[in-house]
Each structure stands twice: as structure tokens, then as C-alpha cells.
Amino acid sequence: MTISLAVPDILVARARAGDLEALEALYRAFETPVYNLARRMLRHPEEAEDVLQETFLEVVKSIRSYRGEGPLWAWIRKIAASKALMRIRREQLRGVELLDEETAPGSPVHKSLPARIDLERALERLTETSRSVVWLHDVEGYTHEEIAELMGKTVSFSKSQLARAHARLRRMLETEGAAP
């Protein structure tokens, strides 16, 4: 999804001064892209909504440190991605990140999946880590270096996650007549 959200400087200045109307206008402008990013990274819609809320509270808290060096969306997006990744890390620490469909014990991919599966559902069947890498790299345009930094991992980790995720997506979508 390509986002080109131009926000007037005057609105940012008012938001920096704590004007509630301006802050709400910013929220309305970025509500969907932030939620969409979080939702693509996380498995549960409720978690994505929590990330949306946490992201904007962070925006409110830190907007005075935003100096307009880059697009506002890039700044907000990085906050949102960090918040979503923090949740994924917490899940991993608790050992509850769900396995890929194909790696789950007793559920080989071709047995468990319907004959045709669309890309959206295939994406949802990846682990949160894999789909995060795919989304951040292929859709949001992050480099492997940026993803590695955000995730606290190596560039090799990001590259191998992307390759494995694409291999899985390809296998899940590889059915008769299915699109690539």
C-alpha cells in the first residue's frame, strides 16, 4: 500500500503545541495506515487496535521531538512498527507465537489448506515475524538493514525470513489456476 499523506505544517505545529483538535486531525489522517500496518504484522485485530492506540499516545508524547527531517508518515510508521514488533517479541518470549500452518505438527500445508487460497489468507498463515518482514520489506519499502535494526536482529535474519516467507507463500498459492 502506497501512502502519500501530506500533512500541513500548520497542523503539525498546532499538534506540537498540544492542541487537541489538531491531534485528533492527525489521528484521523493516520488512523487507517497505522492500523493497517499493525494488522498486517499482527495476527489479532484487537492487538492491532492496541498498537494504534499506543502509537498515537507515543506520537502525542514525542511530537515535539519531530523536527520535520522526513515525512511525518515515516516517523509515525516507525513508531507503529516498533510497537507491533515489541508485541511480537513479548509473544515470542512467552512462547506463544503461532507456528506457520505448514510447520504445525500434523498439519502439512496441502492437507490443511483449501484448494485455493488467496494472498490475504496466505499472508495470515505466516508467523507474525515472517509476515512482518514481508510487509515491512515488500510493501513499506524498508531495507533489510532497517528491519534488522527495528527487530534487534541481523541483516541475514531479515533476508532469510523474507526468503522463507516467500517460499511459503509460493507453496500456499501454488494450486491449480491460482495466481502466483
Partner: protein, 193 residues
């Protein structure tokens, strides 16, 4: 032997090895796989954006307002502490070597606390302001934050600074606070920036 997914991704990023590039030129199967990869990414980019089921703004707004109330209470505490400090300085002033500076410092701190209270009474966060006013307010708040940072840095060991420098910092803070109050109350024209 065909290209692996790593090879295909590297080729997509124009980082493919010499072997992969040569192989791709000759292998229709790998050309098809690379094309499928491009199409998959294009389809990912074209997925419709998802929106939240619930409006989270009311919860965010409530959290902002609650945090501001907490901050006001904190600042009130700072005001009382400053008043106590002023009282202490007045009592101790005769015993201090630099009486003039001490009195000036106490006065500046008191003025600063008074202006904070004045600003809170005005309730700036609950008001809508023009973009120009907002930009000015943000700039003034930034400059005050810099001074506060410097004051916090010296912290309890104010002796690190020469007394006249400390007085100057507090006086600068008072000047900026006054401008901030003016910006909120009487708007930009009186501030003179």
C-alpha cells in the same frame, strides 16, 4: 539446478550472483519464478487497506487529558517547592556570601512559579489556537525545555554553575514564560518575536 528463493530475491534487488544472472538468462522456469515473485509483491502492495473496527480516538483523548491533569498537579507541586525554596533563601540570605545574587535567584524562581500557575489557570490545552500562535508556542516551549534541561542537568549541585549564571538561566526562563503566557493570553502581536 535452479535458482533458490534467496537467489530470486537477490536478483529482484539487483544483487544476484553472476551464476544466478547467467542461469536466469537461460532458464525459462526460473524466469517464470522471478516473474511470479514480482507479481506476488505487486499483489501484496495492492491489498486493500484495513481499518479498525472501533474508534480509538476517545480513549486516546481521555488518556491525553488525564496525563495533562497529572502534569498540572506535578507543576503545582513544583510551584509549592519553589515557594518554599524562596522562603528558605530569604531566611538564609543574610548568611550567604552573595546576597544580591541569592535574592535575584529567589525572585526569578518565584516569578517562574507564578507564571506557571498563571498559565495553568488559563488552561492552554483546552483552547484552540491559530497555526501561527501554535508555532510560536511550540518554539517558546522548546526554548523553555532547553533551559529546564540545563537546570535539571545541574540538579541539586547548583554550585557547578557560577551563581550569576544560575540567576541568568532562571531569568531567561522567566522571560520565556512571560512570552508564553502572552502568546496564550494576548496572542502573537504582544510577544514581539
Amino acid at each position: 539446478m535452479h535458482c533458490t528463493m534467496d537467489d530470486l530475491l537477490a536478483l529482484r534487488a539487483n544483487e544476484g550472483s553472476a551464476w544466478a544472472r547467467r542461469h536466469l538468462d537461460e532458464c525459462p522456469a526460473c524466469q517464470t519464478e522471478l516473474e511470479a515473485l514480482y507479481q506476488r509483491v505487486a499483489r501484496l502492495k495492492a491489498l486493500p487497506p484495513l481499518g479498525p473496527a472501533r474508534d480509538r480516538w476517545p480513549a486516546i483523548r481521555d488518556a491525553i487529558v488525564a496525563e495533562r491533569r497529572r502534569r498540572v498537579r506535578r507543576w503545582s507541586g513544583v510551584g509549592l517547592a519553589a515557594a518554599a525554596a524562596v522562603a528558605g533563601l530569604i531566611v538564609l540570605a543574610p548568611f550567604r556570601p552573595r546576597q544580591v545574587d541569592a535574592a535575584e535567584l529567589a525572585r526569578a524562581k518565584q516569578q517562574s512559579a507564578t507564571l506557571e500557575e498563571e498559565l495553568q489557570r488559563y488552561d492552554p490545552t483546552g483552547r484552540v489556537m491559530s497555526g501561527r500562535s501554535a508555532a510560536l508556542v511550540a518554539e517558546l516551549e522548546d526554548r523553555i525545555a532547553v533551559i529546564d534541561g540545563e537546570l535539571a542537568r545541574v540538579g541539586g549541585s547548583e554550585a557547578q554553575l557560577r551563581h550569576d549564571e544560575l540567576v541568568k538561566l532562571w531569568q531567561d526562563r522567566v522571560t520565556l514564560m512571560q512570552q508564553l503566557v502572552d502568546a496564550h493570553v494576548t496572542r502573537v502581536s504582544y510577544v514581539g518575536l
